[in-house]
Amino acid sequence: MTPALRRVAVCAAVIVVTALAHESLVARIASTDPVAELLSGQSIATFQNAAALGLLRAFLMLLAPGWVLYSLLLLGHGYCVHRQAKARPPSS
């Protein structure tokens, strides 16, 4: 596997794992009432969940798309170089 392909694979794997963690955390929060927890003094747990959720969402929405695009661009660039080299006549 070339480095570029490996980069794309790692990127995809990290995003999938993060997305699954995000959905799991959202389902857990949705099964409770965060406002009630906050008001009943369970603010530490509420803020911990909020912080974790914020980090996961920030990664998925802000960093992950750019990482995917960057990885695909490098993969595409490598492919173009490969095509150019293949088309180049062998030098003596």
Binding site: P34, V35, A36, S40, G66, L69
Partner: protein
């Protein structure tokens, strides 16, 4: 490495017959070696980040905005189901138990009121859903008119307003209850709360229209213009539901209300000294936005005036995500339970209520920006055909339902 291998190959005198194998070696080395300089890769990475940050979040968070704005049934229904289920599943009258009777009661009133308004608005847009949501609306209404839900009112007035209103006593908190009863009356004209609805409206109208300042107290010594807007909205909705004409009275009242509580910035003053128009709090976005929504039921022109002030003074936008500042220019504060969290000057309350105001006045662009923010921080969770905003709890989801389904004037 590639060059060395090539030189060794040629120096060894190998001819073109081996060129194919040589070429494959060269190509393999080309693919393995990074071609771009580090600086170029950093620039490309930064460019990718900036491009996707500018595009992806707004696309992801705004994809349902158009559906809500156009009152798509499936979209409204998904949130309405979860709100209706939340009310039906609630065992006690109150949702929160902080030990503060006023907050516990008021939050329950707000939850039931917004549930009725939201579900009612869904039914008005999609009458075929009446049988699905009327039971939840009736349950919410029964608890709304139960004096024990807001026993703080009885504590401060001696009796709850739904039981009796002493002469001169304001009871403006009844505006929230009466507004919900008006929505119930529109979709269930034979409701068993019709007589109460008529009595509360008459009592509140007498107080409101006879007030020199256009204001009445919420609790003894406390006058909150957004609550007065709820009272006026409830009178307008009663008129609509019963075919009564109160337009002339509402027009005269609107002038007094605006001259007393509307700040030069266009924002509504949050609290004033009872019996006067002296401000006791700043002009605030949360109060302005919710008042604009409530007044849409009674006085479209005044509602519009508040909305225009809200947009002119409070609209903020970043990468397609909108929010509303809580405090008008020249004022500062840390917010309160009405505003929720205040971050960089914008508040949860002002932003959330502005959704309803934007829907009321058909402002698609601003609604979409606000919706993206609500989606980002509300954390929607889909389970089958039901959608819940995980960060909102019972109160937040009821509020969002009412705001996202508001009728356009």
């Amino acid at each position: 490495m590639c060059r060395q291998r090539r030189l060794v190959w040629l120096d060894a005198g190998h001819d073109l017959e081996h060129s194919e194998r040589f070429e494959m070696t060269v190509l393999h080395d080309i693919l393995r070696r990074p071609r771009l300089p580090l600086r170029m890769r950093v620039l490309v990475a930064l460019g990718c980040l900036l491009l996707t940050v500018a595009v992806v979040p707004r696309l992801v968070c705004g994809r349902h905005a158009a559906l809500y704005f156009e009152r798509d049934l499936a979209t409204q229904d998904a949130l309405a189901r979860s709100v209706a289920a939340s009310v039906r599943a609630q065992r006690g009258r109150q949702f929160y138990h902080t030990g503060t009777a006023r907050f516990d009661g008021q939050s329950a009133i707000a939850t039931y009121q917004m549930t009725i308004l939201g579900l009612g608005q869904v039914i008005l847009a999609h009458p075929e859903k009446r049988d699905d949501y009327l039971p939840a609306i009736r349950t919410a209404a029964d608890r709304l008119v139960d004096p024990a839900t807001l026993d703080y009112a009885a504590d401060v007035y001696g009796t709850h307003g739904v039981v009796q209103m002493a002469p001169g006593a304001g009871h403006a908190y009844l505006g929230y209850i009466n507004l919900a009863l008006g929505m119930l009356r529109q979709i269930d004209p034979d409701t068993r709360h019709a007589a109460l609805h008529d009595r509360l409206t008459d009592e509140l109208a007498r107080r409101l229209f006879n007030s020199p300042t256009g204001m009445i107290e919420t609790y003894p010594g406390e006058t909150w213009p957004p609550d007065v807007a709820a009272v006026a909205g409830s009178i307008g909705l009663h008129a609509r539901a019963t075919g009564t004409d109160r337009q002339a009275e509402l027009d005269r009242w609107a002038e007094r209300f605006a001259s007393c509580a509307l700040d030069a910035t266009g924002y509504l003053i949050q609290r004033i000294r009872s019996g006067t128009c002296e401000p006791l709090d700043a002009p605030r976005g949360s109060g302005t936005a919710v008042a604009s929504y409530f007044l849409g039921f009674a006085h479209p022109a005044l509602s519009r005036r508040l909305y225009e002030g809200l947009v002119a003074q409070g609209e903020r936008s970043l990468l397609g995500f909108g929010a509303v500042r809580e405090y008008a220019s020249g004022h500062q504060g840390a917010g309160d339970v009405n505003a929720g969290f205040v971050v960089f000057g914008v508040s949860v309350g002002a932003t959330g209520f502005a959704l309803g105001a934007a829907m009321t006045h058909g402002d698609r662009a601003f609604f979409t920006e606000l919706f993206r923010t609500a989606h980002l921080f509300g954390v929607p969770s889909q389970a089958g055909e039901t959608r819940t905003y995980a960060a909102g709890g019972a109160l937040g989801n009821a509020l969002l339902l009412a705001m996202l389904t508001a009728r356009t004037l």
